[in-house]
Symmetry: C2
Subunit: 194 residues, 2 copies
């Protein structure tokens, strides 16, 4: 069975366990096994029990990702114009391992607009470049987030799907992303398995 | 010569080229070769010329990182409570490749405090957990940023150095980080080479 790691700030939701179960059920419908950051790690080394919790979680998540063929990342902007930092780390980590990465977001506003809105505007130079009120350049490649994220995902053979929905309560965009991942990983059939 | 990739939002500074030259000079003083995201890539594949600029930059940065023994990442909070998304991606990417990663920041405020301040406060449950005004859990492991970042850096054999300084104009914290990297990568001598 093809395993996909479900990265995202979803683990910070009040009903995280139920929510991740719903995401896993959607994966199952597309013949993929969803792996959640909240899952226990089979065969977790006994020595990890002596580590502080944050190190154990980080090692466990890295091990989960190593056990998967791909990552499906929730890139919905989280507490700032960009995706959750832990999720972005995991996207880069997966790409370093050579995995396929797919991303989705329930917000469709472009990175340039989100950034300008977040930092209180900016000014546009005659050459067309945008500078933030913070005195630093604002990326403007028409992408959804920092170019490393979309660059890595594209190069991995994955894709990014964005659509305006109820930010932390929608799973329809996630499902479209799972469908795209299943097509890429398992072949041409994209019908939901019932 | 041991090469280290200099990740960070420094590339968005108005004087980015000069600034990166100063960072490289500091690396040279510790017998390390600093590689900048702004550097040309020797032997860049001709086919890349046909790609859109953002994909070329992403591929070039990934190739730069692959050519290095370690990454030294500027994790100073950037347009939100966390580090720059591109930098976080590169930290994860380097960790996936098995490189050593070192991080530094010119801000010492903990992630919990930065997050609460960024999202307009939160409430503390009787069990001690913090929930943001955005309705989602706030990480509180006493770390400097999301646990994946510090977890990955620690596991790689690197370290994170934070100190309150003039956020985008200080290089003293960077230099301490370069010194720590040189010690870890080259051996015990941490004297600046003059």
């Amino acid at each position: 069975m093809t395993r996909v790691y479900l990265a995202g700030p979803d683990v910070f939701l009040p009903d995280a366990a139920d929510w991740m179960a719903r995401k896993k059920a959607i994966c199952t419908g597309y013949r993929l096994v969803g792996v959640s950051p909240l899952d226990d790690l089979p065969g977790e080394p006994a020595a990890w029990a002596n580590l502080p919790e944050w190190r154990r979680i980080a090692l466990r998540n890295e091990a989960h990702i190593r056990s998967c063929a791909a990552v499906i990342a929730n890139l919905t902007p989280f507490r700032g114009p960009s995706a959750d930092a832990g999720t972005v780390y995991e996207v880069g980590f997966a790409r370093g391992l050579g995995l396929r990465v797919f991303g989705y977001a329930t917000v469709a506003t472009a990175f340039l607009d989100r950034t300008l809105s977040s930092i209180g505007g900016g000014r546009r130079d005659p050459d067309g470049s945008w500078w933030g009120a913070d005195g630093m350049l604002v990326e403007q490649f028409g992408l959804f987030d920092n170019l490393m994220i979309e660059g890595g995902i594209t190069e991995s053979g994955g894709t990014v799907i964005c659509e305006d929905q109820d930010r932390w309560h929608d799973l329809s965009v996630f499902e479209r992303c799972v469908q795209a991942a299943a097509t890429a990983l398992l072949g041409a059939s994209t019908d939901r398995h019932t």
